[in-house]
Amino acid sequence: MTTKLIGTSPNRRSVLTGMAAGGLLASGALPRFAQAQSSAPIKLGFQLHRTGIGASYGRWYERTAQAALKLLNEGGGINGRPVEIIFEDDGTDPRRGAEVVEKLASQAGVDAIFGPLFSHVVIGSAPRAGELKVPYLVCSEGYHVASGMLNRWTLQPGITDVRAQVSSMAPWVMNNLGKKVTMVFPDYAFGYDHRDFFTAAVEAQGGQVVAQLAIPPTETSFTRYLPQIPAETEVLYHVMVGPAVLTFVKELGEFYGTGPRPEIFGFIDSLEAVNIASPGLEFLEGTHFWEGHCRTQQADASEFEIAYRAAVGVDADGASVSDAKDVATYAHMFSTWETLFILKAGMEAAGYQGPADRQKLVEAIEAMTAMPASMAHPQGDKMFNGKTHQVFGHQNISKVEGGKLLRVHKTTLEDSMYEDAVDYTTMSF
């Protein structure tokens, strides 16, 4: 894959050296903030997967959040006050996650915390956020928020959950790829969400799941599972996460080779931060992927999308502008950007002054509904459900053509919605 935007733009530099930006802002370098009643910065905590299994995501989540922060402050911050973000590593571990929530809330005194992706970190940390009564905005796509497992202080306004993702796309898969599906998924909770909700959606469409292959999390080679795929399979549905995913996709390619194969529909999670033009992945040509946000810049990309890409420092192929080999976790990372701007909208609606107004902030976010596409929502418009604390957005199905992911279908917001399983607004704070 050739990259046309090689070179370092000023934006990109400032993202990388962004750690210094907070300090600069705090020293009052930007006079525009002076008009606010209190010009003390608003402090936000970011629970970051800097080390551990989530580090690929963490690195891009940090870059995205830094870019969003820069734009936010250039536009006057929140309520006229500058904003700073304190990034703290959770090692992608639930125990450390809870400790980080504690550290950010009690020691750094942040106004709200956001950013975690991995479900076990979210579920491990949410109880502590609830006890400390600090708004905790997760970017995790798990179904744990909308299922009612967590608490009133935990919200997911930046990214659609797995249940909505899979059920909204099932009809298209049935109608365009085939009705007999074999699913390959990791043998733990994240995989079960896919298994349960996609199977239900397939059956609702008159299709059939002919086999479910659950792969244990400790596996590093998948060759012996592949012969278990029934020959009658019309669509192979795969979703894998972790460092071994590339092995899985390559072995799938070796298995089918140039022979006949079913249609393949995968979650881009299998290939986040991986160049789709890597050796061994040629067979992906012509297969389909779910994408939360299209990695390859589409022909009809909105102005917001283009500006967002430039601000974060990602080229039209979804790689870093300074290093074409450094591929972004593009399908997920928009959630940190959008969550930051939701915090801004929520704080401004609540007339937020300080930690005493945290409850008002949660109530203000709960009151949100339609979120039109804008610079604050570059992935597209969304609908927030205050009762379940979950947002619903458009999902994309892309086809690999010439090493690029080209969108062939975009779901509507209604496609992804399901009945409420919980009403958090009736719970006490």
């Binding site: 703290e88 639930p94 809870a98 009690s106 579920i123 491990g124 006890e131 798990g142 733990y188 994240f190």
Partner: protein
């Protein structure tokens, strides 16, 4: 006498600390105390009896899940805490019956395999255990005799109570005849056999006591912090208590606590200073082990404080 006074002083200090600590460190110390109970249990098997186990995550996990699953069934701390204690002890008994047929590195690997099988079992029963994601304890279950463990003071108090009981019991154990036999077993198994002790029984007893410690620590952790997940039963949680014990000093009563405390703040402080915090931790571990190969208290004991238990 001197040592009893020292340990009582440590407990008193920890009691007093809760009134002056800022909120963040308040919770940290509560957490370190309950993890130190786990480490003390490990020390009883490893430090005193010489059983190098890599399977203690299983005992901790047994306590954690016993408490967590019972909490889901509506039980509160009065029932779940003892249940966790028993679960840890029973699992240790079962593992010990088999694993103690081996010794040395074989024992290490067998316990590792059992713990790994336990971890995978938790994943296998995902619908009940929540698998890798785990689950959050219902608020009503995090209650011990009317005290809400989700609030600061009861949480700290429970952590301190568990720690104090565990510490004093540990002290009593090492001074008891059983404790001496355990050490004898570590130093020279053949000789203690000739003196009429059955190595298998002594080791099994030590392992079960160790399991009781780990189990109650797991249950305490679940109640105090409200989350149960498979990551606590993973291999990492078998290595951590070993690291804490070795840092603080294997075969010392206070060593596990010192080690856990040290390791916690090493990670916490270094991650505030640099993004490459693992490097700092690694270098610190190397420096520590070069400077104090027997752990902090172990080295102190060698250099003069001979009375340290």
């Amino acid at each position: 006498m001197k040592s009893l006074a020292l340990h009582l002083a440590v407990i008193a200090l920890l009691f007093a600390l809760q009134f002056v600590l800022p909120p963040y460190h308040h919770t940290n110390i509560a957490r370190v105390m309950v993890l130190a109970v786990f480490a003390m249990g490990y020390n009883i098997a490893f430090g005193y009896t010489g059983l190098l186990s890599l399977g203690h995550a299983l005992f901790f996990g047994a306590g954690l899940y016993a408490a967590g699953l019972m909490a889901n069934g509506g039980w509160t701390g009065l029932a779940t805490l003892p249940a966790g204690l028993l679960a840890g002890g029973l699992v240790a008994l079962a593992v010990g019956m088999l694993a103690l047929r081996t010794a040395g590195v074989s024992f290490m690997i067998v316990t590792l395999m059992f713990a790994q099988a336990g971890y995978l079992t938790i994943l296998y029963f995902g619908p009940v255990t929540g698998g890798d994601e785990g689950f959050v304890l219902p608020a009503a279950a995090r209650n011990l005799a009317g005290f809400d463990l989700a609030t600061e003071t009861p949480r700290y108090t429970l952590g301190l109570a568990l720690f104090a009981v565990a510490l004093l019991a540990n002290l009593a154990l090492v001074r008891s005849p059983l404790g001496r036999v355990m050490v004898a077993m570590r130093e020279n198994e053949e000789r203690s056999r000739m003196l009429g002790y059955n190595p298998f029984t002594v080791k099994l007893t030590a392992l079960v006591i160790s399991g009781l410690y780990a189990g109650v620590a797991g249950a305490g952790y679940a109640l105090m912090f409200g989350y149960v997940g498979a990551s606590f039963a993973a291999i990492q949680y078998s290595i951590l208590p070993m690291l804490w014990v070795l840092l603080g000093g294997a075969g010392t009563v206070l060593g596990p606590f010192i080690g856990a405390l040290l390791m916690f703040y090493l990670i916490d402080l270094s991650s505030s200073v640099t993004t490459a915090h693992q490097m700092v931790v690694g270098v610190a571990l190397l420096a520590l082990v070069l400077f104090a190969p027997k752990g902090l208290l172990g080295t102190l004991r060698e250099r003069g404080l001979k009375w340290l238990p």
